[in-house]
């Protein structure tokens, strides 16, 4: 007599599939110090690489003398551009269709640029040798103000591009001009603005910041000259793309290159691109025949690897007198640094900035983005930005508030008035994106109820009166942000990285005894893929998540994918996982039918088994089916039980959210305390609520840092400022407030499990909420806009200019 079958709900709980707050499998090794990060790798004979870097923002290199460095015991070699030129590796292609110097050739273009690569037997000898390389520079005037990059008398930066009047993204009208990108309807927008009953204009700048993951970038490159195989372990968010690029530029056939991303200590977009350190390590390993490790230190990371933002966005927004938006114009001046190394899909030099119509039904919009070179580090796309979506969302959320001020409308009210309505989805924006699904009004109203928005505004009114009467020196601000962002890059027809379509993949193999291994083309840097992708599969194929190993990051075994950034893992690889799971289940159904001696159509799926319709006691569990796949000779079916899916998404996904922030500003010191932060996220189907909440906490903390104090800046001669953790603002547990999270669920109609992705949403929405709150605190005194970061001195300066400081 068989034991009674547990109920579907009980069986589903045991699977820990979709929707379970399953505890993470990764934690076992991390909590015991047994993670395996790049700098943990130790190989026999391993050498260490370290860079000599430019102390100038713009200078000619007259000479490099490495003789004293080479005399340091243990130093093997000092590479310069002269050594890389014969291999044509002194420049490397960037992800944006430009080239970037691997080692500075004849001139340096940003403070901290790589000039020479010392290779030594231990890292202390390498560090000593770096100090002894003598470089003779001739300083040149530096260009650090992007607004003057295209002046007639601006310094010429890129002599290697001299004479090239067009680049990867079209014509160049000045030596420091990179591209102009335009989208939308200029005529309709101009007409709408000209006819606007109310028009507001503002320059909204998003300062240069840096993702600053706690682990810096690094690699171990090992050329096995006996087998002709190059292996590189490294901090790579896109290991397969790195392999293909490495093959193209080195000439080593791709099957002889193995890229491995081990555990990565945070990526946040900082680890997408290829850095000179990787190339130099590979060259050094080929030349020396030994493994070469390069791990940068924090200052190097902050001053030379992919920065984020640095967008100057001028907006003009028109509306009817009662607050209906009629048109939006945006011009962006994009400061790309000395090389265009923006990690964008090829056809999008400004990423997905054109999502800048946001959550609003704006009939006419026009966008122009001008990218320019300056004497600063290269990069631009990073830091949970979803390809410039952080910039776009900040822009529109500030413009909405600026318009609200001008109209005398409440910021929540104007948003509710202009939201894309639920019935309008799928919605095609004026800048060409088809939003998949959304129910903005429900989310907004839920958020407003949760914080008692009306009560907050009433409290604020009292606070303002009390301030006026001299009873308090603190001003209260309430910031509202309602973001719609765009993730899940993306459909191969318009999304590619260096020609590699942005599909993703999952390959699953079920073992005879009923457990499984799944390999993906993505790579977790803390997002918990080993935990969550097993959950997707558990629900699809009825094997407990705890019985499914998920592997990523080794290009020798993982199916080709474009990696993890831009919140794309769930939308793309998660879809591939579900589809592969369904292929498994389809074959399993045939096996079960054969075992049960019924037709396929006589079976239905019940959590973890196929049951005969109408005869539920006749069933086969997935475990039984798995064994049968290896054990039975089934006519028409190959043995084994595995499947692979390469998923080309039909569209992007559009997560959204309502964030509300309350601040109290000490007007006489500029100190701003975040009293309360409420974040409602709609990421469609929620795979693991615990992990989603963790992502939101982390992203909001990054947003807090950006909005309230983070900045990488340069002085007038191109020296970088703020490139150590003394000055680069990373909040501790003391500054970080309590985060209140909430959610609604509006599934994506085109995604196999309705999931949209969430990783970057909190940075996208968070910055706007903080910034809107600070601006809101002073709005009644006439402030329209004050630039981030809202650190103490800037907030104080705002108050001082308004005449209210003590």
């Amino acid at each position: 007599m068989n034991a009674p079958v547990a109920s579907p709900i009980e069986r589903a709980e045991k699977l820990q599939g979709l929707g379970s707050s399953r505890k993470r499998v990764e934690d076992a090794r991390f909590t015991q110090g047994k993670g395996r990060y790049v700098d943990d790798i130790k190989m026999p004979g391993m050498l260490y690489g370290d860079f000599v870097r430019s102390p100038y923002g713009h200078a000619r290199i007259k000479s490099i003398d490495a003789s004293a460095a080479l005399a340091v015991p243990g130093v093997i070699a000092v590479l310069t551009a002269a050594d890389l030129k014969p291999l044509n590796l002194h420049y490397m292609p960037t992800l944006a269709g430009d080239v970037q110097a691997v080692l500075a050739d004849e001139k340096v273009l940003f403070y901290g640029q790589e000039v020479a690569f010392v290779v030594a037997e231990d890292r202390y000898a390498a560090a000593d040798a770096v100090e002894l390389v003598e470089v003779d520079y001739e300083a040149l005037p530096a260009l650090v103000d992007p607004f003057h990059a295209m002046d007639a008398d601006a310094p010429e930066l890129r002599e290697d591009l001299r004479g090239k009047t067009s680049g990867a993204h079209g014509p160049r009208r000045h030596p420091n001009h990179i591209f102009t990108w335009e989208v939308g309807d200029k005529a309709a927008t101009d007409a709408a603005i000209a006819a606007g009953e109310v028009v507001a204009e503002e320059l909204v700048s998003y300062q240069r910041v840096h993702p600053c993951p706690l682990e810096t970038c690094g690699c171990v490159a090992s050329m096995d000259k006996f087998n002709g195989k190059l292996t590189v372990w490294g901090t790579f968010q896109a290991p397969h793309a790195v392999r293909t690029v490495a093959s193209l530029i080195s000439g080593i056939a791709e099957h002889n290159i193995r890229i491995v991303s081990p555990d990565i200590g945070g990526g946040f977009g900082n680890k997408v691109g290829v850095y000179p350190g990787y190339i130099c390590s590979i060259v050094a390993s080929i030349v020396t025949g030994k493994p070469v490790k390069w791990v940068e230190d924090r200052i190097e990371n902050l001053m030379a690897t992919a920065f984020a933002r640095d967008y100057h966005m001028t907006g003009t927004i028109s509306a009817t007198r009662d607050g209906r938006i009629t048109g939006l114009r945006c011009h962006v001046l994009a400061d790309h640094g000395a090389f265009d190394a923006c990690a964008d899909p090829t056809k999008f030099p400004a990423g997905f900035f054109s999502i800048c119509t946001g959550s609003y039904d704006i009939p006419a919009a026009h966008l122009v983005v001008d990218g320019v070179y300056t004497n600063k580090a290269p990069g631009g796309v990073a830091y949970r930005c979803s390809f410039r979506v952080t910039e776009a969302s900040y822009f529109i959320e500030r413009m909405i508030d600026v318009l609200a001020r001008k109209l005398g409308m409440d910021p929540a009210e104007i948003r509710l008035k202009n939201f894309i309505a639920k019935e309008q989805f799928p919605y095609t924006s004026a800048l060409g994106w088809e939003y998949d699904s959304g129910d903005y009004r429900t989310a907004m109203e839920q958020g407003m109820r949760a914080v008692d928005y009306a009560g907050l505004r009433a409290e604020q009114a009292e606070n303002r009166a009390a301030f006026q009467r001299g009873e308090t020196r603190s001003l209260m601000g309430v910031g509202v942000a309602f973001f719609t962002e765009i993730v899940g890059a993306g459909p191969v027809k318009n999304c590619d990285i260096l020609g590699l379509g942005m599909f993703d993949s999952c390959e699953i193999r079920i073992h005879p005894t009923g457990s499984a291994i799944a390999r993906l083309g993505t790579i977790s840097q803390g997002q918990g893929h080993a935990t969550t992708f097993a959950q997707i599969l558990a629900t699809e194929i009825g094997i407990p998540a705890s019985m499914i190993t998920v592997e990523e990051g080794d290009t020798d075994t993982a199916p080709y994918g474009l990696g993890t950034y831009g919140s794309r893992s769930t939308p793309v690889a998660g879809a591939a996982t579900a589809m592969a799971g369904r292929k498994i289940r389809a074959k399993a159904q045939m096996i079960a039918a054969w075992l049960l001696e019924v037709h396929d159509d006589d079976l239905e799926w019940d959590v973890d088994r196929f049951v005969v319709k109408g005869a539920p006691e006749r069933a086969k569990t997935m475990a039984e089916i798995a064994f049968a796949a290896y054990n039975q000779a089934i006519p028409g079916l190959e043995p084994g039980l595995e499947a692979v899916s390469y998923y080309d998404p039909p569209n992007m996904t559009y997560p959204f959210g309502a964030y509300i922030c309350v601040v109290d500003i000490d007007v006489d010191t500029g100190v701003t305390t975040v009293r309360r932060f409420y974040a409602l996220d709609d990421c469609g189907t929620r795979i693991n609520p615990m992990i989603i909440e963790g992502q939101v906490h982390g992203g909001l903390t990054e947003a807090l840092a950006i909005a309230m104090g983070q900045e990488i800046s340069y002085d007038e001669i191109g020296n970088v400022k703020g490139a150590t953790l003394m000055d680069f603002y990373l909040p501790t547990a003391v500054e970080t407030p309590h985060w209140e999270t909430d959610f609604t669920v509006t599934p994506s109609p085109h995604h196999p499990i309705g999931a949209k992705g969430v990783g970057e949403s909190p940075n996208v929405g968070g910055v706007s909420a903080f910034s809107n709150a600070v601006n809101d605190a002073f709005a009644h005194l006439g402030l329209t806009h004050t630039q981030m970061p809202h650190d103490h001195w800037r907030v104080w300066q705002t108050a001082e200019k308004l005449g209210i400081t003590a």
């Binding site: 202390y124 560090a127 010191t669 703020g722 603002y729 003391v734 500054e735 103490h792 001195w793 104080w796």
Partner: protein
């Protein structure tokens, strides 16, 4: 990230330490807690060929109260860590401003290593204890090639990283006149985040007699290339009941002597005004805590 090579010495007496320093002159640096010096060495901004570690010198540790006819004093060994300052019942009872200040220095790990001697002796204008020592009218006791010397905190600091400590001498203890019973004190510090150096900070010590402020001392942190002993600001409070006009005068006098650097914490004008706010708030807090 990696310092230059050095030879390491770990003497067990002050005499031995002085002898090593004497032998190597300016090639030698003493290291106390190391959390000012070692970060500089890692950036190769300091490259001493000889490092003289004071950790094994027992004579440099300890906190004691010397009860004397002149009100007594507290003597703190230079190698007393910030964590030990925080934990000391003697200091908590007699001189609470030290604990209040130490709690605002760096973070728990650094406080386990950083010493009072290190914080007061190297002349870093960002350090918090120097201003507090000036407000307390402390004296630094040092031993040098010419024997024992006493250096008042109020005249110790000449410029950033330049002090009156003679070449080859080591601060061995800090002597603080025991603050008057019933005094009120406060160290109010604005910073970008916990553990940062001050945007501006103020140390205020005052005591009342018959409802009037009879004694006051004010000093400022990180708004010049040295700590600032704000004598005129303190004088503005003495004899008053700390009415609004008196406090305003004190704040103005304090702001008037500031000459802050402009840096990531803000432009000079901002830091001056914050210094004024810190003084105002420290006066209020100290007054609250004082026995009237």
């Amino acid at each position: 990230m990696i310092p230059a090579p050095f030879e390491y010495h770990r003497p067990t007496s002050v005499a031995d330490a002085l002898s090593i320093c004497g032998r190597y002159g300016d090639e030698a640096r003493v290291v106390a807690g190391g959390h000012s010096l070692i970060p500089m060495m890692k950036l190769r901004m300091a490259q001493p060929a000889h490092l003289v570690d004071l950790r094994d010198i027992a004579a440099l540790k300890g906190i004691r109260e010397d009860v004397g006819i002149d009100g007594g004093s507290i003597v703190i060994g230079a190698m007393t860590t910030q964590a030990e300052v925080i934990a000391s019942p003697v200091l908590g009872r007699l001189c609470p401003i030290l604990r209040e200040t130490a709690l605002q220095i760096a973070d728990p790990q650094i406080r386990n290593c950083g010493t009072l001697g290190g914080n007061v002796a190297n002349g870093d204008p960002g350090n918090d204890m120097p201003a507090v020592m000036q407000a307390l009218d402390a004296v630094y006791i040092a031993e040098g090639p010419d024997g024992r010397i006493e250096l008042p905190a109020r005249t110790f600091y000449e410029a950033a990283f330049f002090t009156t400590l003679p070449e080859g001498a080591i601060v061995t203890a800090i002597r603080i006149p025991t603050p008057r019973a019933g005094h009120g004190s406060a160290y109010v510090k604005q910073k970008r985040k916990i553990g940062d150096y001050a945007t501006a900070a103020a140390a205020v010590i005052l005591s009342f007699e018959g409802g009037r402020c009879a004694h006051a001392a004010i000093a400022l942190t990180n708004v010049a290339d040295t700590p600032l002993h704000a004598e005129e600001a303190a004088a503005a409070l003495v004899g008053t009941a700390l009415d609004a006009a008196a406090v305003d005068r004190a704040v103005a006098a304090a702001e008037a002597i500031t000459r802050p650097a402009s840096d990531g914490r803000g432009p000079a004008i901002f830091r001056t005004r914050v210094a004024g706010q810190m003084v105002r708030r420290a006066i209020a807090a100290a007054a609250e805590r004082a026995r009237r």
